[in-house]
């Protein structure tokens, strides 16, 4: 048996975890409790304390058509960016795992985007997506006006989906590659002895064995695209044109800090939180059952 050092004085243990607890409290519990407070109260017109209003704020939020539109938009955004990011990451990981020429370089290179902050990535993509001078401007040489995220809502949505997906690719890539490399080599060899070619082995052996990783990344990416897309929207489109890219997180910011409707924004935050919790619950309930853990 290994002898463990342990401290008789509990205060020392508390001291050690205090910084972490402090951070969690200041940046998580405190704002969350504030959101709760604001969501169920309303500030009086000329200041002077909040009034308890029950579910009024939520009724207001749900009777707002633009809010329902932002929910729908967020779902589309989450589904498409997650799908795009995960499928690209999977393809890249499969290639990196096959150890084709240069895979060492790509394996490292693929991880770099993860180190880039969302606003910085968005700024770079703002140049790429620029309809006059960006890389995407080539689309306009095919047919004038084909690409213009400043005018077309669909283009703007495409732009933020691509950016979010790009940002998420490296994270998923790391996990996919680790997942692929943890599949024993002899399984793949057994597959090739059994006559399966590369594609067949991917479909029949590697993908099913990656299921736990795929499920994990699905949950993480979906959650992330609901809650962590603010920086991308803010820098690329500011929710425009005509609210076409106003996702739920961005609407919270717009209503709260531009419209100064703290209570409405707080109610929206709680709805967003509930939505993410619900979504994760359903993923575990219905998808995880089909995942095979070895």
């Amino acid at each position: 048996m290994q002898k463990r050092a342990y401290f008789k004085a509990n205060w020392l243990a508390y001291l050690f975890i205090a910084p972490q607890l402090l951070i969690i409290f200041v940046f998580f519990y405190w704002p969350a409790s504030q959101a709760m407070y604001w969501a169920f109260t309303l500030e009086q017109p000329f200041g002077g304390g909040n009034q308890w209003v029950g579910l009024d704020n939520f009724r207001a939020v749900f009777s707002d058509e633009t809010y329902w539109a932002s929910i729908w938009r967020s779902i589309v955004f989450a589904a498409l960016s997650t799908g795009l990011a995960m499928s690209m990451a999977l393809v890249l990981a499969l290639f990196a795992d096959r150890q084709l020429r240069g895979y060492r370089f790509f394996r490292v290179g693929m991880i770099w985007p993860y180190a880039i902050a969302a606003p910085a990535a968005a700024l770079a993509f703002r140049f790429l997506f620029n309809p006059q001078s960006g890389v995407f401007a080539y689309l306009n040489t095919l047919s004038p006006g084909l690409w213009n995220p400043a005018l077309s809502g669909v283009d703007a949505m495409t732009a933020i989906i691509i950016t979010q997906a790009w940002k998420q690719v490296s994270y998923s890539f790391i996990f996919f590659l680790a997942g692929l490399q943890s599949i024993p080599r002899s399984l793949i060899e057994a597959g090739s002895m059994d006559g399966a070619r590369v594609m067949r082995r991917m479909l029949d052996l590697q993908l099913p064995l990656l299921a736990p990783t795929i499920f994990f990344l699905l949950v993480i990416n979906m959650t992330d695209s609901f809650t962590d897309s603010f920086g991308i929207v803010d820098i690329l489109t500011e929710g425009g044109p005509a609210r076409a890219t106003e996702l739920m997180v961005y609407k919270i910011y717009v209503d709260g800090f531009q419209g100064l409707d703290y209570s409405g924004a707080a109610a929206q935050s709680l709805v967003l939180m509930a939505l993410v919790i619900l979504m994760t619950f359903f993923q575990f309930r219905f998808i995880e059952r089909r995942v095979h853990y070895t």
Binding site: S186, E189, A190, G191, S192, M193, D194, G195, R197, H292
Partner: protein, 389 residues
Amino acid sequence: MADIDIRKVEKFYGKNQVVHGVDLNIQDGEFIVILGPSGCGKSTLLRMIAGLEEISNGEISIENTVVNQLEPRERGCAMVFQNYALYPHMTVAQNIGYALKVGGMRKAERMQKVEATAKSLGLDQLLDRKPAQLSGGQRQRVAMGRAIVREPKVFLFDEPLSNLDAKLRVQMRLEIRRLHRTLKATSVFVTHDQVEAMSLADRLVVMNAGRIEQVGTPEEVYHAPASIYVGGFIGSPAMNFLPCGVSDCGTFAVIDNTSFRLPVDPEIGRTIAGQSVIVGLRPEDLKIAPEANDPNLLTVAFDFSEEQGSGRLMHGRLAGRDFVLHSAGRHHPAPGAPCSLAIGAESVHLFDPTTEKRITVAGAKTGQTGTLPAAFQKTSDVTVSGAIQ
């Protein structure tokens, strides 16, 4: 005719050469066992036949077709892996039937074949289980079933029994042998276990450090080891080696106070007279002579012993080396008492000290299979007298 021809095959990992020019011809329907210590390149050779490892130099052909550039699936080999490599997310039935499914066989026919194979291996009750729900022995059977169901031209086994406990290993060994008798497919079986190798092989290939040391039937390899390496590797406990100087036939050389006479084939006796040789003696070939201190015989005092049930291993020292004798039966020499050893001509293995190869002469009889070694008699006309150096 699934014969396999391996010609001057080499394998490099980067600059590191792990297989050095292997030549081997495997007949159709033969059961070949490749035996060697861990890391000697057995698996690498097997995997080059399978197509899982590129062949750096040389050629391998199966059924007279050079397969160097062929994918594993085009070679018609089935392989049983050491860790079984079962697909963990598939049931036993799916595991066994996967190759057939990939090959495009219709479901009804496939299920029929899978069931027949499973039945022959006693797996028919387990078809719906996943590998994680099976015991080690059952997994091993599934791995076998996966290979058998395809009716391959060639079976390749990479230490398939080494993860089983001793009892199961013996049982599976017999089953593999029985299976080979019914299927008659060419088989190449890799192992580091000499007992397994001896009992399975039609022909044994002994490898050492990427080279073939000897190819032969188990009897040939045991009774006429081609080199010091093979002599020491095959047989348990290992062969005793004595570096000796040989005096002329019929005379004694007394060096180091230890001289003795050994019977050898007359032809060989003539070639080695006056030279240095290394004498190999198997512990189980040695008999204790009735007379305890015969000046003409090799005399050893055994100072401790290990009981084996079927006999006793007697350990002593001779010329500064450990010397082992297997004393069969129930009557053993007393510890510490000098014993003279009676040795038959068939049991004397002579090796060249520089090349470390067996010393043979065309037509010589040493080490051939035959009757039990007759005890050495002083009246024997052909002897070599030697002295331990």
